[in-house]
């Protein structure tokens, strides 16, 4: 079982490496969206640092979301998804591997880039550290929940917009706790509670979301 998990993970990472532009698109999207806000709002550091937690988290949500439609689409088109459904290994496990690969390719780069953009938003050092921790704990939940939406809308017309409609409301708790953690540290409070809740969201999603995704894939492929 571990073998199958690793195989799927390696395969998806290899596919992502062969199409590096897809990874870059997500990252550039995150960069561009977060650079638009200072242009729209004005360059005062005080204003920017007060909106930074929310803006960076919303940009991370959107960046994670636009890459979701690619999660299963290629496998669906070339038929390898059907083989995964037929495989003796539990589909839930294979889904976890695919989602983990998606997070490594689309989530982790955003986490690593975020402190740089945080600097542009005049965030102090402590808050930058909390931002990285919050994104690291929260973005897995985004990939896991997003996978449900991606699986439900597989092969449906207008699936890109539909995914946004389905998934964004479910992202709200992660957004609240994630931005709350950074804001708490800016205000000199401990971010511990928010970070714990973020980790709880991710763990809960890790237990429930792959099952829902597997069920949704079965509905979509048959």
């Amino acid at each position: 079982m571990n073998n199958a998990w690793l195989t799927v993970l390696k395969r998806d990472l290899l596919l992502a490496l062969r199409r590096r532009s897809d990874v870059a698109t997500t990252l550039f999207f995150f960069l561009i969206v977060s650079s638009l806000f200072p242009l729209g709002i004005g360059p005062e550091p005080a204003v920017l640092s007060s909106i930074a937690p929310g803006v960076l988290w919303v940009a991370a949500l959107l960046a994670g979301m636009i890459s979701l439609t690619r999660l299963f689409a290629a496998d669906f088109e070339d038929g390898s998804l059907e083989q995964m459904l037929l495989a003796p290994q539990p589909l839930t496990l294979l889904v976890t591997a695919k989602v983990f690969a998606h997070w490594l390719v689309c989530g982790l780069p955003v986490v690593l880039l975020a402190p740089l953009i945080g600097l542009q938003y005049a965030l102090p050092g402590d808050a930058l550290l909390v931002l990285v921790w919050a994104l690291l704990l929260g973005t897995p939940a985004l990939s896991l929940i997003g996978a449900i939406g991606a699986a439900l809308t597989l092969g449906v017309r207008g699936s890109g917009l539909l995914v946004a409609l389905l998934v964004l409301p479910l992202y709200i708790p992660v957004l609240i706790f994630g931005a709350g953690a950074v804001a708490a540290s800016q205000n000199g409070m401990s971010a511990q509670a928010h970070l714990s809740l973020l980790a709880a969201c991710s763990l809960l999603a890790l237990v429930l979301a792959p099952m829902a995704t597997a069920a949704a894939l079965k509905v979509s492929v048959e």
Partner: protein, 247 residues
């Protein structure tokens, strides 16, 4: 004596039963509505703090209740449809969604009409308003997903899964939003504690809630009848029905 539990789980037998039930629920809805509106607007005393404007809660609170209840009922039908692979359950879930969305919208609009004189703003980012807004998004997502999938069986199952995911998420969303910010007044009615409002106000509100319940059942049955006819248009019983109409 054996009971045919599943007799009415087939569209063919449920269609005439629903037709017979609709007038009853529609009449009950009308009676409760007239009584409820009369008590709310003519008998209930004016609130000493909020004046006459508080009367909107007779629509607002039952609508907000219904918006949440319908989502749970919808998810329950969806789960039943998934578990038993029953067509009719999925159709019921589909029939309930628009009514739920309408009640959510009604709760939002009446809330904002009440908020203007009370809080001095049409919209406040407070926990309950925000979670009601998110509930509206969940309803819209459900409707959008179902309407964008052409194959009805797939639409049923995909919608059912989404409704279940939503039900798991609703409490999490509710508490996250609650901790995020709260300004809304406490619950109007608390289980366990003595009601703080006058008895007539409570009666009016409960009558309105009953009226909304009956209305929901009547409208959902009407809609499910249409869905049944549309989905089963090539079956013998629908053809027999349409022949009966023509002759």
């Amino acid at each position: 004596m054996s009971i045919h539990w599943f007799k009415y789980s087939s569209p063919q037998t449920f269609y005439p039963l629903a037709g017979k039930m609709i007038p009853w629920f529609a009449w009950l809805a009308t009676i409760f509505l007239v009584a409820g509106l009369y008590i709310s607007f003519a008998i209930a005393p004016t609130d000493f703090q909020q004046g006459e404007a508080y009367r909107i809660i007779f629509v607002h609170v039952p609508a907000a209740w219904m918006s949440m209840v319908i989502y749970i009922v919808m998810a329950a039908w969806a789960a039943l449809g998934l578990a038993l692979n029953a067509r009719l359950s999925a159709m019921m879930a589909q029939a309930l969604a628009p009514t739920g969305a309408i009640f959510t919208l009604l709760a939002l609009v009446t809330g904002s009409l009440w908020g203007k004189p009370m809080w001095g703003a049409w919209w406040v980012w407070d926990a309950r308003l925000t979670s009601e807004l998110i509930l509206l998004f969940l309803y819209l997502g459900f409707i959008a997903l179902q309407s964008s999938i052409d194959d009805p069986r797939r639409a049923d199952r995909a919608g059912a899964l989404l409704a279940l995911v939503g039900v798991v998420n609703v409490p999490i969303i509710y508490f996250s939003v609650k901790w995020w910010n709260t300004l809304h007044q406490g619950s109007s009615i608390n289980m366990g504690a003595a009601p703080k409002m006058a008895m007539t106000m409570l009666t009016g509100m409960l009558l309105m809630a009953l009226a909304f319940w009956m209305y929901t059942i009547a409208v959902a049955l009407m809609r499910v009848r249409c869905i049944m006819l549309e989905r089963e248009r090539s079956s013998d019983w629908v053809k027999a029905l349409s022949v009966g109409v023509k002759s």
